[in-house]
Assembly symmetry: C2
Homo-oligomer: 241 residues x 2
């Protein structure tokens, strides 16, 4: 099937989720998102308002991180963060689930937490980050099923934060593992999307993820991937996805 450049752009979710990002970083980030015409730009709550102003009139969705990056917050806090994020101009939500509750087999707690955010998001896209790298396969499957039941639009592999830290000293540690995408695609209904995130720096690897069931790609270096697409394939490429 042909993957057009425009389709590829729309599948790129570009994020600036560093703890120490400054206002200048947000400006540079938004410029890059506009230039690359990525589908989504994702920022931390404190920068939603600024990013919303910078992306005004552009065809880029703006997502607000919620409970980021640990998800260890009260549900009530996540709900407030969701509502405030939407008021400040976000059009989507990337929330981190309660990983501790999942590991403690407190399925109702995990469900209620996601459900409350989905309700607060009032019909907007809610992406649930399950943090695959700390979960075993049973936990990954259970997280997917609970997220789907709670009404999440999409399940996302990781926050990418571990990759951020590891990158300080290690080369390209993968956050988005191909085996996880395959497992998640088996478990989830076709209408629930998958976002692979963490350590996707390479176009060939990005294609592998799309071929195996990922719908969206969460990256911190969106511009490079898109430039590489254009250089290598121009306007479209044939891949099985």
């Amino acid at each position: 099937m042909m993957l057009t450049l425009n389709d590829f752009r729309s599948r790129i979710e570009y994020s600036l989720c560093q703890q120490f990002a400054s206002q200048e970083d947000v400006k540079t980030f938004c410029k890059s998102a506009i230039k690359s015409k990525v589908g989504v730009a994702c920022v931390n709550p404190i920068y939603v308002k600024l990013a919303s102003e910078l992306l005004k009139g552009e065809n880029v969705e703006l997502s607000c991180n919620v409970g980021f990056p640990f998800g260890t917050h009260f549900t009530e806090t996540k709900v407030m963060e969701t509502k405030n994020g939407l008021v400040d101009g976000a059009t989507q939500i990337d929330m981190v689930i309660n990983v501790g509750a999942l590991r403690s087999k407190e399925n109702d707690t995990v469900y209620e937490d996601i459900r409350a955010v989905v309700e607060a998001a009032d019909g907007r896209v809610v992406k649930t980050i399950i943090e695959t790298w700390v979960l075993n396969n049973e936990e990954k499957k259970r997280a997917c099923l609970i997220a789907e039941k709670a009404g999440a639009s999409l399940v996302k592999t990781t926050t990418g934060v571990r990759t951020q830290y590891l990158n300080l000293i290690a080369e390209n540690p993968k956050g988005a593992v191909l085996e996880d995408i395959i497992l998640m695609r088996e478990v989830l209904s076709p209408n629930v999307k998958i976002k692979a995130s963490g350590g996707i720096y390479d176009l060939d690897y990005a294609f592998e993820l799309l071929k195996n069931g990922a719908d969206q790609l969460g990256v911190s270096r969106g511009e490079e991937l898109i430039e590489d697409f254009i250089t290598r394939y121009g306007n479209e490429v044939e891949i099985e996805y």
Copy 2:
């Protein structure tokens, strides 16, 4: 000056702030905090209620992490997290400041954020985490001065999260750097305490930090440090602090 075992215990702030901690982990952690008679046990919001029940009647303060670990949340969210944490049984707050605003020289934003949490804490101890490892010296000094002005009881070096991640592949990366403690002690008034945190696994290094101005030590392995104290010194040790 003599450092007694009891004084040393009271200076240990034992934390379980992992993203993936389960209920079982919290139970083990609280047992260890009680056994070691540490001064403070610190957990993520979702576990304050459970930890409060487990520590009931014990002489251990319970701290709730707020805006942890990034501090990139709305002030309003941090305020809610503070209030809910106190309702659930916390007696102290460990909050992460808005590092991005500090780096953007938005001093009023940094101040208002801390001030709102201090007010919500209603007289309880509020510790502000400034995340020294991403700051230059000017930023570290400014963070201390703003925290003091906003009424924080204590300034804390780091969340320790980077150390958590780096520990996966590196040996003992220091979060609590001696030079930072010295710098912070120069800037802060004597009534504002300093908590050194991140990568304090060694008793000799713990003493170095105390000697150079740290009042409290944030650790994830409190039991080991205290056992080492007892083995090596029994009930007290002479150190200059």
